[in-house]
Amino acid sequence: MTLVALDGVGKRFASGTEALRGVDLRIEAGEFLSLLGPSGCGKSTLLRLIAGLAEPSEGRIERAASRQVGFVFQEATLLPWSDAITNVRLPLRLAGMARAEQEARAAAALAQVGLGGFERAYPRELSGGMRMRVSIARALVTRPSLLLMDEPFAALDELTRHRLNDDLLALWVGSGVTVVFVTHSVFESVYLSSRILVMAARPGRIAAEVRVEEAAPRPEGFRTSAGYAALCRRTTEALEEAMRA
């Protein structure tokens, strides 16, 4: 099933900058799709169009009616005056759900990202990785069919990023959610995705597609395997070609 379909989508900002041109894209239910590209290639803009946070200046975007979206920003974007559980239940609160149910589902979402017991902690009291986990829990609490992530781990140290990558994959496998993940890291995109779209800049467009057939969650030692290295090389080549074009 196609969750979101983009046909000939272009985006021009009020300043005249052409951020995207001629993007055709089908997001299929259950896939883990990465948008990979250098900064300025419009990948974040594309994600915002998919989310409905911005409107395309050209082309059409069609969305499945049953779609419920969760969005994870580059920063954790938590409300600093609210504790973890209040941050997580915010989307449910905005939707007018009963308080008791909000609390129960938010607590479950926190447990799902490995933060059971941190319900009453304030963002200030948590590490960068934990804050990002709270942010992911907030995106999951509405039980979305589509999870959109805009370079969520870019600001974290490598070890934390690896752990969050593994946990995200486990979550993807466990919940069947569809993920669209924006990143500028070849290694991260290969490790996580079932499909990678390589983007080129000026104007932003999709330049190549790489499929990753490896089973998820990734087997032990996948990061050092020959298959992983070969995929990274292929993706890097595609990215370099896109940047030359």
Binding site: A51, G52, L53, V69, F71, F73, E75, T77, L79, P80, W81, S82, L90, P91, R93, L94, A95, Y122, P123, R124, T142
Partner: protein, 260 residues
């Protein structure tokens, strides 16, 4: 240890200054109607305490009521301004006009137009106190993080929800900073207005006690009233500082203790 020193150092300086002052007045035999020493001032304060106490309560009442009005009206106006750029553009200049016109110049007019002295004092003090609350709160309401605003939009938040759950809590540190400034200004406004009114009688405040003591050349009493006004100002500042700390300590940088 550090906190102890925080108290001890200024207390020592205060004692030294007061001691030096008393010693200088005695050694140089300065008459009390020119410069009274701290002991003479303290004596005046104790002797006339019932009078001072009621005057202090009058001034405090005016200042606190003015502050309450400033918080209510300043806060409501700020929310109104934040709802629409157009409203803000249209009305903000007039708030500025009200702010930059010296209260000493407006006070006589207000005293003529309003029969009740207490109410005119209240209006004067309010005029001085409300602007920092208004301008700070407007700034705070408009400072919401862009990503937070998008997050609320993504989850279909209503205007009211965005105001209540995002803009108002985000504006709180700004509002509280304005409140601390406004607290001192409300007292100043009240004292200035009392001076202009110059109204005597039992229901008059500390400013009138200063005027009265000046006419009677009871200089220690002047100083005593002055000291009480300072004490009131310090007390208001300290209480508002405590309120600020209690409201922000869990989440805002300004109220965090440095770790380690």
């Amino acid at each position: 240890m550090r906190r102890w020193a925080d108290w001890l150092a200024p207390a020592l300086v205060g004692l030294l200054v007061l001691g030096g002052w008393e010693a200088a007045v005695r050694l140089l035999e300065v008459p009390a109607y020119q410069v009274p020493g701290p002991v003479a001032i303290a004596r005046a304060l104790v002797e006339d305490w019932p009078l001072f106490r009621s005057s202090m309560l009058v001034t405090l009442k005016i200042a606190l009521l003015a502050l309450l009005l400033a918080v209510t009206l300043g806060g409501l106006l700020a929310v109104l301004f934040a709802q629409s750029r157009w409203v803000e553009r249209a009305f903000f200049p007039y708030a500025v006009v009200l702010q930059v016109t010296p209260v000493v110049a407006i006070a006589p007019l207000i005293l003529i137009w309003v029969d009740d002295v207490t109410i005119s004092l209240l209006i004067c003090a309010w005029i001085v106190a409300f602007f920092p609350i208004l301008s700070n709160t407007v700034l705070g309401l408009n400072s919401a993080d862009r990503n937070h605003v998008e997050l609320f939009r993504l989850y279909g938040a209503t205007r009211w929800q965005t105001l209540w759950l995002l803009r108002l809590p985000g504006a709180l540190p700004f509002f509280l900073a304005g409140l601390r400034v406004a607290g001192g200004l409300a007292l100043i406004g009240a004292v200035v207005a009392e001076f202009v009114a110059g109204a005597g009688g039992t229901g008059s405040g500390l400013a009138f006690r200063i005027l009265e003591a000046g006419y009677q050349l009871k200089i220690p009493r002047m100083f005593a009233a002055l000291a009480l006004i300072s004490a009131l100002g310090i007390a208001i500042f300290a209480v508002l500082g405590l309120v600020q700390h209690l409201l922000l300590r869990r989440w805002h940088e300004s109220a965090m203790r440095p770790e380690g």
